[in-house]
């Protein structure tokens, strides 16, 4: 089956228009880094209070 290209296909390579981020990949990396930071902070929280 051939999927017809739609209007949003080009938008895939468009910048996210979020200050500080030129590409979507950069934004995803930031979110992933935030997740890692949250897990590290929760680990520290557990170590401090448990």
């Amino acid at each position: 089956m051939t999927l017809a290209p739609g209007p949003d296909e080009r938008a895939d390579s468009d910048p996210p228009e979020v200050p500080g981020f030129r590409t979507w990949r950069g934004l995803y990396l930031f979110v992933f880094g935030w997740f890692v930071l949250v897990v590290v902070l929760l680990t520290a929280f557990t170590a401090i209070f448990s």
Binding site: P16, F35, L42
Partner: protein, 568 residues
């Protein structure tokens, strides 16, 4: 609740519902009715995705879970940010490119009609069963605590959500979600602030956190590899990833929240908004539960928080004895905690260790009495509800918050119920219209007005089904786990269907269809015969569906494969 509480409760709930219905009363376009306004921005999409997932159970059960078992449940959400990134990269662009109304339409375009119907059927079965729970869960707890009639609460909640969802469809759902989520956030922050102010003088947040931690309530992460443990980092990251990927990528109640909107960018940013905020939000809700635990170490409280259930059996002499033992144990526990706090401040490690051991022992005695209370209830009436953790937060709200804010917090519970219910009804109505009704009546697709009318009727029908289900069905006591378990049984296979569709381009419709049926049977058999954390069933169902698809594609008769190639 006094007049001020009632004004806040009814004003906010009815006001938001009326606003949603009034703003969307003129919708005639099928696209707007099913996908929402084409100008919706990422903020509204993000709040709508959040409101859909955050049901009333989130705000009733999760603080109770923090109170009873600590904050380890937060690990359940560790897979969510990763799943949302995958949805942004793979699922969302494809849905928008194909311009589908439902996720299952995509299965039909990629495979065949029977696979589309299987996907839609799995969704309708799973979500249809859960639909009653999302109304019943808050209704049973709030009606029990406030002494309201359960059937009236269910019918009124159901009617309110049916009215605005049927009127404005997806557009009304998104509009009301924005305001409901704002109100929910304000209510939870208010509850947290009041809770911190109600802690004993000199204890503060840090002292309370140390007490909670010493008594085992603040273990947020557990790196254990024991597969029988329900919540660990590994079940959260891997099982949670699959559960979240299934939920956000293939569950129409979520897909419908983000496939509309002004552009692909808005949908993606709305999902990233959730990826960033979800774990901190769940952490705060669980932390409220852990702080409630500390609060109730210093404040008088019942041995069993579901007082309505307790009083039904209170004539038995054993119950008065249990209450007296609990009050005595609580006084000892308070003394032990104060002694430990003093020992900590003294910097004497030996004294601190001894005081900590005494505090833990005192807490164990209190826990044992609470366990005795549950056992006494069960022996007095085998059908008695013996789990009371869902009643902890609402008890605090009603007994400790000032009037006005009580109404606000009760409104929070109902707003959360309405928000998740509305998204479910819209999704069930949309899937029934697009994947069933239009499939069997393809000529009707051209008549847009008729499609909107039919979608409204199906949405109303599912609302009535959910209300009837809530009125007449009995549900598991731990409601949030019941929903998660139900989801884990079905979601893995559903996700498997989509992963095959996205990544295994050579696999055809017949192979994936029979693979999904076999994988679902396998998961159900395993659920009833094994004792493993239920999040693992997401991985097992998905992996089985993918593996069986590959095997069946290889062994299917050439004629079937040739038909599929022609069909494609």
């Amino acid at each position: 609740m006094n007049v001020a509480d009632w004004i806040v409760l009814l004003g906010t709930l009815v006001g938001i519902a009326a606003y949603g219905a009034w703003r969307t009363r003129h919708i005639r376009s099928l696209n707007t009715y099913l996908r929402g306004s084409a100008s919706t921005g990422w903020g509204t999409i993000g709040l709508s995705v959040m409101a859909t997932q955050a049901s009333a159970i989130t705000f009733l059960s999760i603080p109770g879970q923090g109170f009873e078992s600590g904050i380890g449940f937060v690990q359940n959400y560790f897979g969510l940010p990763l799943a949302l990134i995958i949805v942004c990269v793979v699922f969302l662009p494809m849905y928008r490119r194909l311009n589908v109304y439902t996720a299952y339409e995509f299965l039909g375009q990629r495979f065949d009609d029977k696979t589309r119907l299987l996907g839609a059927g799995l969704f309708l079965l799973q979500r249809g069963l859960a639909a009653g729970v999302t109304i019943y869960a808050p209704a049973i707890i709030i009606s029990t605590v406030l002494g309201w009639r359960l059937d009236l609460v269910i019918v009124c909640t159901g009617l309110l959500v049916i009215i605005y969802t049927v009127t404005g469809g997806s557009e009304a759902v998104a509009l009301t979600h924005k305001w409901q989520m704002t109100m929910i956030s304000a209510g939870m922050v208010t509850a947290l602030v009041v809770l911190l102010h109600r802690l004993p003088d000199g204890l503060g947040f840090t002292g309370a956190a140390h007490v909670a931690g010493a008594l085992g309530k603040l273990q947020a992460v557990d790196f254990s590899l024991d597969p029988s443990r329900r919540y660990t980092v590994w079940t959260g990251v891997f099982g949670g990833l699959f559960l979240s990927l299934s939920y956000f990528g293939t569950d129409q109640s979520q897909v419908q929240r983000y496939i509309g909107g002004a552009s692909l960018r808005e949908g993606r940013l709305g999902l990233m908004f959730n990826a960033v905020l979800k774990i901190p939000m769940q952490f705060v809700i669980l932390l409220i539960g852990a702080l409630l635990f500390v609060f109730y170490q210093f404040a008088p409280h019942p041995v069993f928080f579901n007082q309505a259930e307790w009083r039904r059996h209170a004539a038995d002499g054993r119950f008065a004895a249990l209450e007296a033992r609990h009050a005595d144990a609580l006084a000892q526990s308070q003394s032990a905690i104060r002694a430990w706090l003093a020992a900590r401040a003294s910097d004497d490690a030996t004294r601190e260790a001894s005081a900590r051991a005494a505090m833990v022992a005192a807490n164990d005695r209190t826990d044992a009495i609470r366990a005795d209370a549950r056992a006494a209830l069960a022996s007095a009436d085998p059908r008695a509800k013996t789990k009371d953790s869902d009643y902890v937060f609402i008890t605090f709200i009603l007994s400790e918050l000032p009037h006005g804010t009580i109404g606000l917090l009760v409104a929070v519970m109902f707003a959360a119920a309405l928000s998740s219910k509305a998204a479910e009804l819209a999704a069930l109505g949309t899937t029934t219209t697009i994947d069933l009704w239009r499939h069997f009546r393809p000529l009707a697709a051209a008549d847009e007005g008729r499609n909107v009318r039919v979608a409204r009727r199906f949405t109303a029908m599912w609302g009535v089904v959910a209300v009837a289900f809530a009125l007449f069905a009995g549900f598991a006591e731990n409601l949030i786990e019941a929903i998660n378990i139900l989801g884990s049984i079905f979601y893995g296979v559903l996700l498997g269907l989509f992963l095959v569709a996205f990544f295994l381009r050579r696999v055809g419709g017949s192979a994936v269809f029979f693979a999904a049926v076999a994988a679902e049977a396998l998961v159900i058999v395993m659920y009833f015969s094994l004792n493993i954390g239920y999040l693992w069933y997401n991985i097992i169902g998905c992996a089985a569906c993918v593996a069986f698809s590959l095997v069946l594609q290889a062994v299917l008769p050439p004629r079937v494969r040739a038909d599929e190639v022609r069909a494609r």
